[in-house]
Amino acid sequence: MSTTTKPDSTGTSTPSNRISGSEAVVRCLLEEGVDLVFGYPGGAIMPVYDELYKYSDQIHHVLVRHEQGATHAAQGYARSSGRVGACIATSGPGATNLITGIADAMIDSTPMVCITGQVPKHLLGSDAFQETDVMGITIPITKWSFQITEASEIPEVFAKAFYVAKSGRPGPVVIDITKNAQFGELDYQYERCEVVKTYVARPDVGRNELQEAADLINSAKRPYILFGQGVILSEAEDELKAFVEKAGIPAAWTIMGLSAMNTDHPLNVGMLGMHGNYGPNVMINECDVMIAIGMRFDDRVTGNLEKFAKQAKVIHLEIDRAEIDKNVKTDVALVGDAKEVLGLLTPLVNSNSHEAWHQKFKECDAMEFDKVIQNECSPTEGMMTMGEVIKNLNKHTHGEAIIVTDVGQHQMVACRYAEFKQTKSNITSGGLGTMGFGLPAAIGAKLGAPDRQVIAVVGDGGIQMTIEELGVILQTDVHVKIVLLNNEFLGMVRQWQQLFFDKRYSATEMVNPDFQKIAEAYKIESKRIDERADLDQAIETMLDHDGAYFLEVMVGKENNVFPMVPSGAGVSEIRLE
C-alpha cells in the first residue's frame, strides 16, 4: 500500500494526490493486487475504461462477448487461482447481464468484485437512459454491495469490498459507481481493510466443542467424514489429509469439494449427492458419527432430510454460523475456519483404522462397478459414452488438469470419473447449476492458472448459452481445451423425462449448428469424432496442440447417468439402474 502520496506538513494533500474517481478505481484495483479484469465497456463506465487504457501495462482487461461471460470467467479465475475475481460492466443491461454469475458466485462462495457504472447521481431514480436499480436487484444475491455517488468514497469502499469478498465465507460484492463519482476528484489515499466492526470473518471455535467433537470421534465405531469446498477455500487440504489419515475415517467429497484430496487416496471413498457414488450415499444411514467439514448439506446431497442420517451424531465444522442446523440438526457445532479448526482437532483424536467399516464401502464400490461403472467407462459397442471420454482424459492428463464443466449429464459424469491429484482442479457450477458456466469459467481458470492444462467439458446445450465467448479465445489467445460431449439432447432433462414423465421429451431435442464450422470461424483448431477407435488419438492430439482446441465427441443420445437418488427420496433409496 504505499504508492500513495502522503499529506504534506500542513495537513493538505499534495497535488499529485488529487486524482479522478475513475483513476482511483484503477489504483484501488492495483492496490488489491488485481492485474486482470473481465469486462465490457459502455456509456456509464467509460471514464473507468479510459483509465484502464492508461494503465494497460499494469492491468490486463479481457474483453468478453457478454457480461455474463465476465462473471463466469472471474469465477473460474478466482477458483483456479484462489484470488478475488474482478469484473466490470456498464449500467442498465450491462449490470443486469451480470446477475446470473453473481448469483452463482453467491451460492458457491466465490470471491468476486463486480464494478458497475451507474447514471450520474442527479439522474438516479429518473428512469434515465440505461438506468437500473442495481443495488435493489443485487442485494439478495451479494455478500455485500455499495453504491458510490461521490469520488471520495472510492478507496474505502473498494478496500472493504475486497476484504469482504475474500474473507470468512467468500462471496460476490457489487460496487455501483455513478458517473459523476468517476469524473469527480478526490485526495487519494488507500488503506487496506482488515476489519469491519459489524462482521466476524473468522469466528473463534469453542474449546469445549472441540473436545466434545474429539470425544465423539474417539468413541465412534463407524465415523464418516463429508467434506466440501470449505476445505479448498480455507486452504485446509493438508490439515484434512492429516486428520483423515490419523483418525482413519472414510471421507467423501461433495461436488464442490472435489480435488481437495487426491482421488486415489485410500480413505477417499468418492462423491456424495444425487449422482454421487453408491457407498458414500448409502453409508450416510449406516454411520454412527458424521463429521461434516466445510459443506452445507445441500438438498442434492441430503435428499429427503427425514431419511438422512437420523441414527448419527453430527459434528458440523463450518465457518458460516447460519449453516449450522439450517438443514441437518447438529450435535456439536465447530464454527470456525476449516484450516484452523482441523489443526486443533487432529491432536485430540486417537489414531484408528476402522477396517471393517471401510470394507462396507468397498462392497458398495464393487456393486456400483458391476452395475454402472463398467458399462459407462469401458463399453465395447454402441455409441461412445461420456464416461469413457472422461476416463480417456484421465489417462492422458494423469489427474493433473483442471476440469471445468458446464451443467447437466456431462457435468455429473465428469465429476464422477475425473481424477484429481491437485487441489483447485474442479471448477463447476454446483449450487446454482448454471448452464453456460463452463466455457467462460474455463477461460478464466486458464488465465488464473496459466501453467496448468485446463479442460472445459461441456454439453451441446450449455455451450450454446455462452458460445460467444469463443471470441475471447480468438482475441486473447487463451489455450483452453474444449471437449464437447454432444448427445443432441438436453440430456439431464431428457433423462428425467424418461424416468419420471413417461418419455415425453418436451423441448429437449436439439437441432444443433455445425460446431466445427463455428470453431473454424473463431480460428480454433477442432475435430469431431464419432468412432470409439478415434478417441484416444483425438484426445492426445488435443492435449498436445499448442493452443486452444475444440474436440467434439458424439455420444449416445439417450444414455442416462446412474446411480441416482430420485428427487424427494432418501439417500438410501439410491438407484443403480
Partner: protein
Amino acid sequence: MPQQITIAVFSENKAGLLHRVTTSFTRRKINIESLTASESEVPGIHRYTIVVEITPADADKLVHALEKQVDIQKAFWYSNEEIIFREIALYKIRAEAMTDGSPALDVVDRHHARILSVEEHFTVIQKTGRREATTQLFKELEPYGILEFVRSGRVAISRPMKELKDYLVELKIASAR
C-alpha cells in the same frame, strides 16, 4: 407451531440496509406484520423491531441469516413472554361525537386513552397498549365515526438483562481477530 415472534435487528443506519433486512424475510416468504426502525441505546446503532408469525426453529435460522449480513451487528428473536411491548394508535373522531356527555367520551375514559388534540371539526385520541387493546378501542369508537385510524409497529424491550453493549464488545473482539 408458528407463533408471534419479535425480531430485533441492530445495525448501522445506512442506505439500502432496510432492503437487505427485508429480503431475508421475503426470500423465505415470511410476511412482516409490523416493522419499526429507531435508534437504540448505543449511539450510531439503529434497531429494527420486526413482528412475524413463524416457528421458533425458523426464527433461529432467520436470525442467523440476518446476522450473517456484513452490515448487521446483532439480531435476536423473542417470544411474547420474553418482551415488554407496546404499539401506539391514533384515532381521528368527528368533533360532534366528542361533545360533553357523549358516550364516546366514556369509551375513551374507560380505555385510559388520551385526547391528544381537539380541533374545530375533529378530535384525535391516542391509545398506547397491545394490539388487542387498541383494536378493542377501535371497535368501541367505530359507531361514533372514525375518520382516520393509524397504528404504529411494535416497540419492544427485552426481559433478559444482558445489554446490547456487552454483545457489541464481544463482537468487536471477535471481528478484530
